[in-house]
């Protein structure tokens, strides 16, 4: 057993209202630059829908992720090492910017400099890529909330697959349709396809927290990672010629702050926490024969942070006490491993993704309520989950490679929780047979309810800081260990003009000092400082 820790995320899709706040704040923070105009590290797509880039999950087209060879070994779907090097001069399956969408701006001068006249001036759209006037035909969310209707949404790879392989028709007519939102970031996989595809070795998985990053200095712009990632979450910066991707906001996470998308989520649907896993079993789990067994296989490599044996092994493998404690309190661990209501996105890509989703019950509740029944009564809901085959099968294609059982189990638990907690909240005698029907204790249901419905900031985001874990080497100083005279600006090493003269950056201070200084400066009375 080799214990490794990973900062993981769970999103509760029932709560997502598709407001795109996460996308916008993420873009403002990370991709508000030239060369990244078309890039959304975080995007929210409507399901059913084409997604961003269009039809990204269709791996027959984009060749992302892994596949098994005849001998049962893992191989990148885009080809082996030799083939990839032979094809390095032009990546045959690289999405063009137009497959995402062509970014544009408006010629605002037309508005301000138009001569006085009868006609209202119009700002012409201009491509940010070519600079030419362009017709806007697609954007990051063209099919938002089922926009485009049946003609467009029939192209959703999952809808097509259900039609061609399962023989189920997803009804896309307005009255019969269902929909939910799917916010997507980089999955920070345990077996990342992008890392494996990078010829330069510039993309790496961080040992400490499992965040997958691109070393901008080592990237040589071969673009293989864009193809290697089945989620199409590595992007090519066309200005710098380097690959860029979601960083899981590592500068924030390192100091214990949640990612920008989590912090700003209006629905508070994101959970952050530590997962412990056995690194020795990763390759084995990713190479399970049956696609449908991949979800269970990935569950199997997660370790119980409360297990004394795991804790001993974790300590041996250099995981600090703070991280172990965080893992024990991890909301993500509870949702994935304990309650088993969170599921991975497209496990059949075999990358072992680490951003998991609680499937939405809302389309089901909605359908039951619309038919004039009580949408929150346990009996109605349990029946409806089964009867409304289409959402169930659609969800299964997304989250469990088509196996409806885990999705049904998760939805049943959510339905049981709704029904049980309604009785509790209305002061009725709660029906204990409802939790029992889904194999849960009433206490567990209440705990899950607390986590899903009212968990506060500190409960939703349990992030051990890198700084605290490395406290000994950082004690009382933001400088690294060693003699302070080893570095520029040590005591007595200032020039004739004083400490900060001629420096562009702020002097380094410890966080405690920073807060103490701010308290002192802003306190009204001396004793408050």
């Amino acid at each position: 057993m080799r214990v490794m820790a990973q900062i993981a995320m769970v999103m509760n899709l029932d709560k997502c209202i598709g407001c795109h706040t996460c996308s916008v704040t993420c873009k403002q923070t990370w991709t508000n630059r030239q060369g990244m105009e078309y890039v959304w590290f975080n995007n929210v797509e409507t399901r059913p829908g084409l997604g961003y880039p269009r039809r990204w999950s269709d791996q027959d087209r984009w060749r992302g992720g892994w596949e098994l060879t005849k001998r049962g070994r893992l191989k990148l779907r885009q080809g082996g090492r030799v083939r990839k090097l032979a094809e390095i001069f032009a990546n045959p399956v690289l999405p063009e910017i137009k497959d995402y969408y062509e970014p544009w701006t408006y010629d605002y001068k037309d508005l301000t400099e138009a001569p006085l006249g009868d006609d209202y001036p119009v700002a012409q759209p201009r491509s940010l890529i070519s600079g030419e006037p362009m017709a806007i035909e697609w954007s990051a969310n063209w099919d938002d909330s089922l926009g485009g209707g049946p003609e467009l949404l029939g192209d959703d790879p999952v809808v097509r697959k259900l039609r061609d392989e399962v023989g189920a028709r997803v009804r896309l007519d307005f009255e019969q349709s269902f929909m939910f939102y799917l916010p997507r970031i980089c999955e920070h996989c345990l077996n990342p396809g992008c890392v494996a595809a990078c010829p330069s070795g510039a993309i790496y998985k961080r040992v400490e927290d499992g965040i997958v990053l691109v070393d901008q200095d080592r990237c040589r712009g071969w673009r293989q990672c864009v193809t290697g990632c089945p989620y199409k979450k590595v992007y090519f910066n066309h200005k710098t010629g380097k690959a860029e991707k979601c960083t899981f906001c590592y500068p924030r996470v390192e100091v214990g702050l949640p990612t920008v998308c989590s912090e700003t989520c209006v629905g508070r649907l994101r959970y952050l926490g530590v997962m412990l896993y056995d690194a020795d079993k990763v390759a084995e789990a990713a190479a399970v024969r049956d696609d449908k067994a991949l979800y269970e296989a990935q569950l199997g490599i997660f370790l119980d942070p409360a297990d004394p044996e795991v804790r001993r092994a974790a300590e041996r493998d250099g995981i600090s006490h703070e991280w172990l404690e965080a893992a024990r309190r991890s909301p993500v661990d509870a949702l994935i491993r304990t309650y088993k209501v969170a599921l991975p996105l497209h496990p059949e890509f075999r990358t072992l993704p680490m951003v998991w989703y609680i499937p939405p019950l809302s389309p089901v509740v909605e359908a039951v309520s619309a038919s004039g029944h009580d949408g929150e009564a346990a009996g109605n809901l349990f029946g409806a989950i089964d009867a409304l085959r289409i959402p169930l099968e659609y969800l299964a294609e997304l989250f469990t490679a088509g196996d409806v059982l885990p999705v049904r189990a998760a939805l049943d638990k959510l339905a049981a929780m709704r029904s049980f907690m309604r009785d509790v909240n209305l002061g009725r005698v709660p029906d204990t047979s409802v939790p029992a029907a889904v194999g849960m204790e009433p206490e567990a249901v209440e705990a899950m309810y607390r986590l899903l419905a009212i968990a506060k900031y500190e409960e939703r985001y349990v992030i051990p800081t890198a700084a605290v874990a490395d406290a000994r080497s950082l004690e009382e100083s933001a400088l690294a260990e060693g003699c302070s005279l080893d570095y520029d600006g040590g005591p007595g090493m200032t020039g004739p003009f004083g400490d900060d003269s001629g420096r562009a950056s702020l002097p380094l201070v410890t966080i405690e000092n920073f807060h103490a200084a701010r308290r002192r400066q802003t306190a009204d009375r001396e004793e408050d400082a």
Binding site: L74, L76, R81, V82, K84, L85, E87, F89, A90, N91, P92, L94, P95, E96, I97, S127, I129, S130, G131, N191, P192, V195, A196, C198, P199, S200, G201, I203, Y204, K205, R206, V207, E208, Q216, D217, R218, C219, R220, G221, W222, R223, F236, H238, T240, G241, K242, P251, E254, A466, A467, D470, S473, L474, A478, A480, Y487, D488, A504, S505, L508
Partner: protein, 242 residues
């Protein structure tokens, strides 16, 4: 003049190439990339780019063989001068033509598609001019001095000169007597070598052969010096780090 061109210039170029590469590696890792334009236009690129690259790789192979494998070695292998001439003429011309057609299509694409053209710097244009000149002049030199029966035997003149450069005893006279077309090609070629470190052509030096041998998944530890501090801005790196 001959001494300068064939005795001094090669060493100047070599110096510029090595120091240029070292400088770029030290100070401009971030700019060291292919600067691919594939995300703007991929249809033509998918045909033209492999065409050009494979063409130029075979051209390189041909040059290495012609310049650095003495004719006595190929004779020993049973490849006589006539056979070598045919090989050099047909294989060399084929590779050269492949490269020329490829780069022709690439330049057409670069001019034709607005996004690609907008992403073309002056540096790129200079590079393209010298690169095309070097390839075309090479083909011209070869084809104007070649015949099926017998061709200009550069392995008795240019090749010994090239090898003599490495023994630090340049045989200037050999090259001075070579046909003008070959001389021009050689000078333009040297200019191209001198330009390599300063253009996007540097990407040839990061050909990722190590990919064949490394494990698929790369793990790396956080750099303790970077912990929770802002990384230095480009050009403002602190002294004594890395």
């Amino acid at each position: 003049m001959d001494t300068f061109l064939w005795g001094a210039l090669p060493y100047v170029v070599f110096g510029v190439l090595v120091t240029g590469l070292a400088w770029r590696y030290r100070y401009d890792q971030f700019g060291w990339t292919t600067r691919s334009s594939e995300s703007y236009e991929s249809r033509i690129l998918n045909i033209a780019s492999p065409m050009f690259h494979y063409g130029i790789l075979f051209v390189l192979l041909g040059h290495l063989m012609g310049l650095f494998v003495p004719s006595s070695w190929t004779d020993a292998l049973g490849l006589d001068e006539h056979a070598y001439n045919l090989l050099s003429l047909f294989a060399g011309t084929a590779a050269g033509a492949l490269a020329v057609v490829g780069i022709g299509m690439l330049i057409y694409r670069r001019r034709r598609y607005a996004p690609v053209f907008r992403a073309t710097t002056r540096n790129d244009k200079l590079m393209y001019a010298v690169l095309v000149a070097a390839i075309v002049l090479g083909l011209v030199a070869k084809l104007t001095h070649a015949g099926i029966e017998t061709g200009y035997d550069y392995r008795d003149t240019i090749a010994p000169w090239a090898r003599s450069l490495f023994t630090l005893d340049p045989k200037v006279g050999l090259m001075a007597d070579a046909p003008v077309a070959f001389q021009v090609h050689a000078v333009v070629g040297m200019v191209l070598f001198a330009l390599l470190p300063f253009t996007r052509l540097v990407h040839m030096f990061s050909a990722p052969v190590q990919y064949l041998f490394r494990p698929y998944i790369v793990y790396r530890s956080r750099d303790p010096h970077d912990l929770a501090t802002r990384p230095d801005r480009r050009g403002w790196e602190r002294i004594g780090q890395r």
